[in-house]
């Protein structure tokens, strides 16, 4: 298809497609003359991915490029690449103060209680520290018992996710990035709705 057909198929405006081509986010079409090219399903899929990253996931074009580069060239160490790709997603976290021997004490204690690896280089560790500190400041700290209950439920959920990760590295990075970012709002909405459902039963309503 020509660029106008690609615009129709993807729902992305021609000017935006040209911008992504210039920026190298979208691979060139097959040249049919000095000024024309044809595009195929791979371009439609790539545009859908770029749209997801810059739309609902909320990345800037520069941040999307970081993730697309990791998808395009996942390298040999898939685990490290998955970590870098998820680490490039919002929320952005500040680096730990240099020289602080224990920058994330709450997250460290929580992960030790859950029997999980504690690696302060993971951005999600800083994210957990901030979240635990906010709950504490508000007078509603996460108790050890609650941590174990949440940890158990979320581990089941994470096992489901990881078991379904495609084996091919590029597909694995894309699945991990989109499944992390796009399913988070689903999870939060489902939790709120489960609260309502459980509360209705306990408060003897809806019967």
């Amino acid at each position: 298809m020509r660029i106008s057909g690609l615009a129709d198929a993807s729902g992305v405006a021609v000017a935006t497609i040209k911008f992504y081509l210039r920026e190298g986010l979208l691979h060139p079409g097959a040249a049919t003359s000095a000024t024309r090219a044809t595009y195929d399903g791979s371009h439609v899929r790539r545009l859908r991915l770029i749209r997801a990253l810059t739309g609902p996931v909320g990345l800037s074009v520069q941040q999307a490029r970081t993730i697309l580069t990791l998808i395009d060239a996942p390298g040999d160490d898939l685990y490290a690449t998955l970590g870098r790709a998820v680490g490039a997603l919002p929320p952005s976290v500040l680096p730990a103060p240099a020289g602080d021997p224990d920058p994330y004490p709450r997250a460290r204690a929580a992960l030790q209680a859950l029997g999980q690896v504690y690696d302060p280089r993971f951005p999600a560790v800083a994210q957990l520290e901030t979240a635990l500190a906010s709950a504490e400041d508000a007078g509603l700290p996460i108790s050890g018992e609650r941590l174990l209950a949440y940890g158990r439920s979320l581990r089941e959920l994470a096992e489901y996710d990881v078991e379904r990760m495609p084996p091919e590295p590029r597909a694995a990075v894309e699945y991990t990035v989109l499944g992390t970012a796009l399913y988070e709002p689903v999870i939060l909405a489902l939790r709120r709705l489960a609260h309502q459902d459980v509360a209705a039963a306990r408060l003897d309503l809806g019967g």
Copy 2:
């Protein structure tokens, strides 16, 4: 204590405390003269609540007022009050288009599959619809199987939360609001860290 002592105890500046007093978010102290008043632990706790709502929860003063009013006067229908209070939290959702007989078809189908009540007036229903549509647009729709797996894990988590809701209505609204908003970032961080832990085991690392 005097207002300067309240500022020290709460970490909130005197000018900000005066603003909250003028706006009616903070209850007045006991007057000791025409221009002086004393404050107690109830003021420190209230300031901590206001700080959580306007800080990590991310509400404007006006939105915080809506929630504080529900905490102060939860009324007789606690279930409806809890729904309104959680509905006032971010993310804000657009009202359904007037006259649309089925504004949230994805959320409706999902809740029916989970055996939960579907009420399109709950803001979390619109939130779920948007999240499901974004995943679909990105080519990674939530399958029926995934929905049931997520629903099961999140229901366990929600049961834990609701079982620990304090019986006193004002405390119940405060617990529900803060537990919803402040624990959501904890849950997302724990999910990301569980992914890493499960993936490390599956990719035969860290052994």
